[in-house]
């Protein structure tokens, strides 16, 4: 029995000794950055295999006794938590962190693509920052936002938080294609936001022609409150009320003006509306 215990003990001690000799030590970088070279020190005796397992890649190297393992910058592409495993009989492992490089790519979400003029906080821009290997840059970075129509507009600097920078702004008072640009250093992304006329304002109509059988009414040029022409195709509704009942015509603005043909009447009230804007009313017939 004693002999057996002694034999087991000796085996365990030998095993431990072999393990200790094989294990060696790993010296890992403290401030590794994606895209920059690192070297990993491997102590101990004998040849082995080093695995580096990162969030989006696995690197495998054969290692020789006492050698430093060099990983070139272009190979270290992935930021985040890495595991280094040295296989030499037994295995030894440690974790280390790789930080993202400086921001070189922006992902820019600009909304909406089309917006009426003079709308409060109607435009939003959100930027996510990435380095050249598309690792997310979580450190605070100042991001420049610029929104302009025909050279006039706003510019604002927002510092990113947890990798995101965003702004909210109002649309300009003049219509046109607004250039919305987000930039960090030399990296910039441009989006176009079409600013269009808002709701019609001061909608007015008049009778342009009147015959035995019909009345033709048309609006003045339809504009919003800041003077932008409301786009062609916008619906304008003409309503005629008389003793025969109600007639409604939905007409589209064409070349800035909406026009409708209504049945003739000797005593009718005609009104006009577009969206939530009510225009003037006309009394047709009688003395008119």
């Amino acid at each position: 029995m004693r002999t057996l215990i002694l034999f087991l003990l000796i085996t365990a001690v030998c095993w431990f000794a072999v393990d200790s000799a094989n294990a060696g030590d790993l010296r890992l970088p403290q401030n590794a950055v994606a895209g920059q070279p690192i070297s990993i020190g491997v102590g101990g005796d004998g040849d082995g295999t080093l695995y580096l397992i990162g969030p989006s890649q696995v690197i495998k190297r054969n290692v020789k006794q006492g050698n430093e393992v060099q990983i070139p910058g272009e190979e270290l592409r992935s930021a985040g938590r890495w595991i280094a495993i040295l296989r030499r009989g037994a295995s030894q492992s440690e974790t280390f962190w790789v930080n993202p490089g400086p921001p070189e790519n922006l992902s820019f979400l600009a909304r909406p693509s089309r917006v009426p003029v003079s709308q409060q906080n109607a435009i939003s821009g959100t930027v996510f920052l990435f380095d050249k290997f598309n690792n997310w840059v979580l450190q605070p970075v100042p991001v420049n936002f610029n929104l302009s129509v025909n050279g006039a507009g706003i510019s604002r600097v927002v510092t990113s938080r947890n990798g995101v920078a965003w702004i909210e702004t109002s649309s300009a008072s003049r219509e046109g294609a607004a250039q919305f640009i987000a930039s960090v250093g030399s990296a910039s992304v441009r989006r176009v936001i079409q600013q269009v006329a808002s709701q019609p304002c001061n909608l007015r109509m008049h009778v342009s022609q009147r015959t035995q059988t019909r009345i033709i009414v048309e609006t003045d040029p339809v504009r919003d409150c800041t003077g932008n022409a409301v786009p062609d195709g916008t619906i304008v509704t003409f309503t005629q009320n008389d003793k025969k009942g109600r007639s409604t015509v939905d007409a589209r603005i064409k070349k800035g003006i909406a026009r409708a043909e209504l049945p003739a009447s000797d005593n009718a009230m005609i009104s006009v509306a577009a969206g939530y804007t009510l225009g003037n009313e006309l009394h047709v017939g009688g003395g008119q």
Binding site: M1, Y51, I53, G54, P55, S56, Q57, V58, I59, K60, S78, A79, G80, R81, I83, I85, R87, S91, S93, T95, W97, P100, L109, R111, P112, S124, T126, F128, F130, N134, N135, W136, L138, N162, G163, V164, W166, E168
Partner: protein, 181 residues
Amino acid sequence: MKARQITTLIRILVLSVGVALALSGVLPLLIRALADAKPSIEVNFDNTGPRQVEDTTQKAIVRDYSAAWQAIAAALANNNQAPLRQNFAGFALDQLTQRVKDQQSNGVKTRIIDHGHKVEAIFYSKDGSAMQLRDTASIETQVLEGDTVIHSDQAQIQYYVVMTSAEDRWKLRVMESAPGK
């Protein structure tokens, strides 16, 4: 007397071998069952800005983020890209696909045993198309070379993710681990 001791010793040996065999059969099954189970995910939507998260979106995020972690575990454990396509898009899909390819070519696999996630929704875009989450995940990671476990560690890891709304679900588009603060 001596013969009796030898018999006892043999009995103990046989019993030990039996227990070892039973454990070796049950443990991998248990580990696989744990890996396949849906991870427990708690999400706090109270401090999200600039937009409040709607109830239906909250439920969808919990469901889809949980599915994303299941997909990561399945993809890395079996070196199979298929589970990733349903739950990932953009950079996250590219990066995890590359990881699976690299694992395959280097003969390793990663087993993730998920012990749960405490998640905070920190950003929800004005147009409701993107949400940023900060996740403190309790993860046990085992790296296998063939069937041999060559690394095992358990850690709390902080993940930042961006999920974006896709056709019928939220997909994980950006994902990065960062040292905890």
